[in-house]
């Protein structure tokens, strides 16, 4: 019983260690990969531009819900004008980075993991190694960097669309004054709030892409293994994102 617990603990530790080792390998290979920027650009397109529709739609609805809920709550205290502040701070600091990262893990992370897993299963990665092409440099790092670059941009787009969603419900439907919606927001939201959101989205981008790429690269080369790698990508990403979210929020307080 204790032996099994101990073994699962050491397994988890070993997994963490190999993720960190993998991250170092990626970082060491980053300079050479940057020279072939077209590969990274393609991956930004794959993981960023293709996620745009789901991010924008979700942002709009999250913002609209925030507008509706915030209005109902603030109306009790007769301060509906604070809706802009509440929605913006909520979106920029929390919902923007976190929801974007969760959607990103589901949309782009799974695509990365299954793509790399299938490359492993169909021996494409071994073939590259035999042709003396470093698969890390040629395949893995561009995908990792593409995700890291896309995430903050997606989170910013999510927040902006969300703010307009909240404005749509609050100002256009519920009748909050448009001037005080924006001016109270400008008076209350500081640059540090925006910075916190950007830092969060960058960290989440690194975490999501790293997990996806790692799970795909080390997937068991079978159909089942690829499926499991994809599932694990989403589950691990979600837990890690929420954990990191708490840490960064505490650090910024």
């Amino acid at each position: 019983m204790f032996k099994e617990l101990w073994e699962s603990f050491t397994d988890a530790l070993e997994g963490l260690g190999s993720v960190v080792h993998f991250l170092f390998r990626l970082l060491v290979n980053t300079p050479q990969s940057l020279l072939r920027f077209s590969l990274i650009s393609q991956q930004i397109f794959n993981s960023g531009a293709f996620s745009l529709v789901i991010i924008m739609l979700s942002g709009l609805f999250v913002g609209m819900v925030l507008g509706l809920q915030g209005f109902q709550l603030l109306q009790r205290f007769g301060s509906e004008e604070a809706l802009g502040t509440a929605a913006t701070i909520g979106l920029v600091k929390e919902l923007g980075p976190v929801v974007t990262a969760l959607l990103f893990a589901g949309r782009a992370g799974t695509a990365l993991a299954s793509e790399l897993g299938l490359m492993r299963a169909t021996d494409q990665i071994s073939a590259m190694e035999m042709m003396a092409v470093d698969p890390i440099q040629r395949v893995v790092v561009p995908r990792f960097l593409g995700g890291v670059i896309s995430m903050p941009l997606l989170a910013a787009i999510f927040s902006v669309i969300g703010i307009y969603g909240a404005q749509l419900v609050g100002v256009q439907i519920m009748g909050v004054d448009s001037g005080s919606f924006w001016s109270q927001m400008r008076a209350a939201v500081g640059l540090s709030d925006i910075t916190e959101g950007i830092v969060k989205s960058i960290v989440f981008g690194v975490a999501c892409s790293l997990i996806a790429v790692y799970q795909g690269y080390y997937a068991t080369p079978t159909a089942e293994g690829v499926g499991r790698a994809t599932t694990r990508t989403v589950v691990t990403s979600a837990v890690v994102i929420l954990f990191l979210d708490y840490l960064i929020t505490a650090a910024f307080l």
């Binding site: 397109f45 960023g48 941009l153 910013a156 787009i157 927001m185 008076a187 939201v189 950007i198």
Partner: protein
Amino acid sequence: MRKSRTLNLGTGSFVLLGFAALFFLTTQTTSRGLSWFGPPHYEITAKFDNIGDLKVGAPVSMSGVEIGRVVKIEFDSNEYKAVVQLRLNERYNKIPTDSDASIYTQGLLGGKFIGLTAGGADTYLKDKDHIDFTQSAFVLENLIGQVLANFTKSKADEQSAAATPADTKSNADTKPKEKTK
């Protein structure tokens, strides 16, 4: 070639959209927008006994119209006063030198802002000028203290019927001043 062109176009427009969103967040939702990309402006200072919870970035208004913002708050240790630096829009450059500045509250429990009331002088405020007539923030606790002091005092007066009304008044006036120091 054709394919890579559309691909780069897509990537480029995605990155542009992302940076546009970041730019929007930093300039349109925060108070920083005004000081970075704001219209031409000039700065004046005013000294207050007590600024309450006035914050940097608070609006400066005249007749209810926003004409500038608070950009810096410092403490003058020689005079024991708060020095507030105001940045006013260059468009509103005809404010008389003897105008007075007061600190008001937005709503019942809202944030503080500075209201300017025009004086009658023929000369106008310029950059680096100083407003001499100021009125401190209305501090709720002091007012409550004043009311309570008046209340207990007047009760005591009724009972003893000895103290003069003038005495009561001066007592009530000095009390808040002691507190602010």
